[in-house]
């Protein structure tokens, strides 16, 4: 037996968290469910965030897009704002799991799980998103790369929740791309993924580029050296090959039952070549 709380407001949430300090919060429960298969601390209370309406909103706030932690992947797929302003994230969430997983799973859950294979993470890193953290006493913000420490490890303190992710609205980008490589076309964990954002001049010279890879290192992998190689040159197979070579040297992939490190390393580089084919 365990208690499950379903607060409908933040106020109620804080009360429950005060009453059950060991309680575990969750949103869609899609990652939590899997954890329960491998033994789950008995007796601890569960607090569900997904009925707190203010955590589900998706809106523009000044020059940022604000996505509530409990926005579901389906919710983001259906959002015009996400589709039009954050196409890389939109693509990523549209490919997560399967329809039921997208209906339940949330962006906050994806961030807090901090898996190297979390599909929202490469776009969030590439867009330099910030994570909003809330507790009864107040709010703080951390760049996503600082919030996530390692596989499954975040900067979340006791009695804190993630309330939202704040994404600077991409300005003047004409390439926003996400590609996931899994072992099949749906219901697949990423074995490598790439989010890429770039501003290209009319003659396709790279003026600005931001790249982030999933599943090729303990956390999302970024590579300023590869970005530097691309900036100032036309986006073409030759420059991309050079950048790909750098990436292959710098990624730190693991071998597991899904794919071996060598495959992930090769593909991490290869995925860059796709950028040359995008119009």
């Amino acid at each position: 037996m365990r208690d499950v709380f379903l607060p409908r407001s933040l106020e109620k949430l804080w009360t429950y968290l005060d009453e059950s300090p060991g309680a575990l919060v969750f949103a869609g429960g899609t990652d939590l469910l899997v954890k329960t298969f491998n033994g789950f601390p008995e007796g601890e209370a569960l607090v569900c965030l997904d009925r707190i309406d203010e955590l589900k909103e998706i809106c523009q706030q000044g020059e940022s897009i604000w996505i509530g932690a409990c926005a579901t992947h389906s919710g983001m797929v259906a959002s015009r704002l996400v589709r039009n302003t954050l196409p890389a994230l939109w693509k990523a969430v549209g490919e997560i799991g399967s329809p039921p997983v997208r209906n339940m799973g949330t962006i906050g859950g994806n961030i807090c799980t901090a898996s190297p294979a979390g599909d929202t993470l490469p776009p969030l890193y590439a867009m330099k998103a910030e994570v909003e953290i809330l507790c009864r006493e107040g709010a703080r913000r951390l760049p996503i790369a600082q919030f996530i420490h390692g596989p499954g490890a975040t900067g979340l303190q006791k009695a804190e929740i993630v309330s939202a992710v704040r994404i600077p609205k991409p300005q003047g980008l004409n390439l926003q791309h996400f590609e996931k490589v899994g072992l099949r076309s749906a219901l697949a964990c990423s074995v490598a993924s790439l989010a890429a954002l770039a501003r290209l001049s009319p003659d396709r010279v790279v003026e600005e580029v931001s790249l982030a890879w999933g599943s090729v290192a303990p956390t999302v992998f970024t590579c300023p050296q590869a970005e530097e190689t691309l900036v100032g040159r036309p986006l073409c197979a030759a420059s991309l090959r050079e950048a790909a070579e750098i990436v292959r040297h710098r990624v730190r992939p693991i071998s597991d039952v899904r794919a071996d490190a060598e495959y992930r390393r090769t593909v991490a580089g290869n995925l860059l070549l796709r950028l040359g084919t995008l119009s």
Binding site: A186, D260, Y263, V267
Partner: protein, 763 residues
């Protein structure tokens, strides 16, 4: 419910579609009874070991534990197995694979069961083990059994393969390898059993072979087969994975020790992977010789089947693979050598395509290679050699029955997808390469010589005036019971409201073979037709008595009635049902499948299961697109042409073909039981990858009809044949796209990318 006429040849919705969709239909797993005990097995989790001791005292002491049984508690031989009785119900002294059961716990609920299983202390002394079938054949290999690791060696020989190679214009050689595959049915192995007051054991179980189960259980536990009663509801998938004891012996053992309480056992998904059997991993070596014009002269091949530590149907699987190893072609000289080998890998056994889909990868790859070597088209070389009625096949059998591979290939060649292949390939986008592959295949139906492939059908007119069919072959989703209803409806002119079917129950139906081997509808259907015809004669005769007619002339069966057409007088079925005793209201008929009559040089190589007389055929085509950056291979369109005699229900026919192709695509692209030290690394659907709907292309299923004169309404079974061709068709497509052939399946992105890299495509 709308009352529809039930006729053969019409694509009617399945008779049981409504009950399946509404959830009314009960599968074995849905059954429960008062006061059940849950049974679970403690498994070895070690591939090869001596059992030093099993301490069950802590588990026994746990409140809620009813019993903990070990080897000493097993009466009888403690050996299960379909033909070779070699697999312990509970291992007592030696463990030979990770899934080996060591103790059986009966508990009040599943939580207690889990806990108790964890509290059993198992003391195992690890032994050196062998995981490679070729290595296991070595003289100094670790022995899985005292008798050695070679379960069976066989040779099928026709003509003079040795000498014929010298006379060939071209000779090619290559090797291939395929891994194990899981059946991945939705409903795991499970059942419910209880001992009745008269001592008999009743069992409701997810099984493909209810009648044979009685003997397997009886042999293992020292019981009278007549004291075992099996009920086989519709299965939530079988694919061969429930053809032979899974939970049966453990359940019966539990029931014997449960004091009359019902015992339920349901394997979890991981247990289903670890303890259930798999498709055989096979290594193949082929040598093929042909003339310059493409005429096949000779084939020599060697096939090594890894059957794991126990036989299951390993020898029979290998026999069928060897029988098909030369493809649906005319080959005058063949030498097929097979080794069925024990290792400490998971047990291998029956699965749809039964040894054939492995060999089809070998021979069809060789046909592609030969076509390239001779500069012929892949279709032409197959057309040139395709078997025709009257030919001898590669195992030396004269094909006197329907033989439709040629029209399958011709239909494929005339199809838009084949004709437009070249244009389609040219439209590949950047970093995409496209190719088109084809494959020809066949699959025997029936058990083959040495094991009568028989069925006994019983039909009855109930007191209420319905025609009831007692099916004695399980329906695992292939739709055979629906076909039976169609056949009975056709012969007896009945609509759905006057027909019913009872799923197999060994106390009600008459003994028949298993639901397997593409034989289910064929063999039982033939018996059913005879029974329905007898029933028809009987009904007409009994009606004529009531109508005081001198003879039944002018009488017709109509839904629910018998009508005298000249006078318009009617006798309703329910009146007959009430007037005649049960023993009169039934008809029971049997059928045994005919067997091949040729005398063969190799006929004593197998005690049973070789050779076969009847085959279904197929020709497949796959549009394949490879991504050069990731190696990901997608099948974009798929065409399959199938010949299985006449079609009882075109909708069910297509469903069978679609299902087989999807399972075959999984086998070709992603499905692979990964093991390390005999332990399965991906024993769940997180990492054992099967296709989703997003991985399946449009599948065009075309049918080439022939008349199988021995078949019920001219049909043959087509449940398996579609499974065999996708892998070679895809591999051929990948080769066409990239110019390199991948000889190890499945064709995962990593394998394809490695092949690309080896050719320096990317960097």
């Amino acid at each position: 419910m709308k009352t529809t006429m039930i006729e053969v040849g019409y694509p009617a919705a399945r008779f049981d579609a409504r009950s399946k969709v509404s959830g009314e239909e009960k599968f074995a797993i849905d059954y429960s009874r008062e006061a059940i005990l849950w049974a679970g097995a403690r498994r070895a989790a070690m591939a090869h070991a001596m059992v030093r001791g099993i301490d069950t005292s802590r588990a026994r002491a746990l409140p809620g534990v009813h019993a903990v049984l070990t080897r000493e508690d097993v009466p009888g031989t403690n050996r299960q197995g379909i033909i070779h009785k070699d697999q312990p119900v509970l291992a007592g002294s030696r463990v030979r694979h990770c899934g080996e059961p060591l103790a059986l716990v009966l508990a009040e609920d599943r939580d207690v069961l889990e806990k108790a299983l964890g509290m059993i202390e198992v003391d195992l002394e690890p032994l050196e083990a062998v995981f490679d079938a070729a290595e296991a054949l070595g003289a100094d290999a670790v022995r899985v059994h005292e008798s050695g690791n070679l379960l069976h060696k066989a040779v099928i020989k026709v003509g003079d393969a040795g000498g014929a190679f010298d006379r060939c214009d071209v000779v090619i050689e290559d090797s291939f390898e395929v891994p194990g595959q899981d059946h991945a049915f939705l409903e795991p192995q499970n059942g419910l059993a209880w001992q009745r007051e008269d001592g008999r054991i009743s069992m409701i179980v997810s099984t493909q072979a209810p009648f044979r189960d009685r003997f397997e259980i009886a042999h293992a536990l020292g019981l009278d087969p007549g004291a075992i009663h099996i009920v086989s509801p519709c299965l939530g998938g079988g694919f061969g994975g429930k053809d032979g004891a899974t939970v049966q012996c453990l359940l019966a053992l539990g029931a014997m020790r449960a004091g009359g309480r019902p015992v339920k056992m349901v394997w979890g998904r991981e247990e289903s992977f670890n303890a259930g059997y798999k498709r055989h991993p096979v290594r193949m070596w082929y040598r093929v010789g042909a003339m310059r014009d493409g005429t096949l002269q000779c084939i020599h091949c060697k096939l090594i089947y890894d059957t794991g530590p126990y036989a299951h149907l390993g020898v029979e699987v290998m026999a069928l693979g060897m029988e098909h190893a030369c493809g649906p072609y005319r080959v005058p000289n063949t030498l097929v050598e097979g080794w069925c080998v024990h290792t400490n890998n998971p047990v291998s056994g029956a699965m749809r395509g039964f040894g054939v889909c492995q060999a089809t990868f070998g021979i069809e790859s060789m046909m592609d290679l030969l076509a390239s070597k001779l500069g012929m088209s892949r279709l032409d070389i197959r057309l040139k050699n395709a078997l025709r009625r009257g030919d001898k096949n590669g195992a030396g059998i004269t094909l006197v029955n329907s033989t439709g591979i040629l029209p399958c290939l011709e239909t494929l060649g005339g199809h838009r997808l084949f004709q437009e292949s070249e244009q389609w390939k040219k439209l590949a986008g950047p970093y995409k390469k496209r190719g088109v592959g084809i494959a020809a295949t066949w699959n025997a139906i029936g058990y083959g010589r040495g094991l009568p492939d028989s069925a006994i059908a019983r039909v009855e007119l109930t007191r209420e005036g319905k025609i009831r069919i007692y099916s004695s072959v399980s329906d695992m989703g292939q739709g055979n019971s629906s076909a039976f209803v169609q056949m009975a409806g056709q012969i007896l002119t009945q609509d759905a409201s006057h027909l019913e079917i009872i799923q197999p129950d060994t106390d009600l139906a008459h003994p028949s073979g298993s639901s397997s081997a593409g034989r289910t509808t064929y063999t039982f259907g033939n018996a059913l037709i005879a029974a329905c015809e007898e029933m028809k004669e009987k009904l007409l005769h009994r009606a004529s008595l009531l109508l005081m007619l001198d003879e039944p002339a002018g009488l017709a069966l109509l839904p629910g009635i018998i009508k005298h057409l000249p006078s318009g007088r009617e006798i309703p079925f329910d009146l007959l049902g009430r007037l005649f005793p049960e023993s009169d209201r039934m008809a029971v008929k049997q059928f045994v499948m005919p067997v091949a009559r040729d005398t063969l040089e190799s006929e004593n190589e197998f005690k049973l299961g070789f050779p076969h007389l009847l085959f279904s055929y197929g020709a497949h085509l796959a549009y394949v697109e490879v991504d050069e950056l990731t190696g990901k291979t997608e099948v974009k369109e798929y065409l399959c042409v199938t010949e299985g005699g006449r079609v009882i229900n075109p909708a069910c026919f297509d469903q069978q073909v679609h299902g087989a192709v999807v399972q075959g695509l999984g086998y070709g692209l992603m499905e692979e039981v990964l093991t390390r030290q005999g332990k399965i690394l991906n024993p769940n659907f997180t990492n054992y990858i099967i296709p989703t709907s997003m991985d399946v292309p449009d599948i065009t299923s075309l049918c080439v009809e022939t008349e199988e004169t021995t078949g019920p309404f001219g049909m043959k079974g087509i449940g398996e044949v579609g499974m065999n061709a996708p892998l070679p068709a895809i591999a051929g497509g990948v080769e066409d796209a990239l110019g390199c052939r991948i000889n190890r399946s499945p064709l995962t992105a990593a394998r394809v990318l490695a092949a690309l890299d080896a050719r320096g495509v990317n960097r």
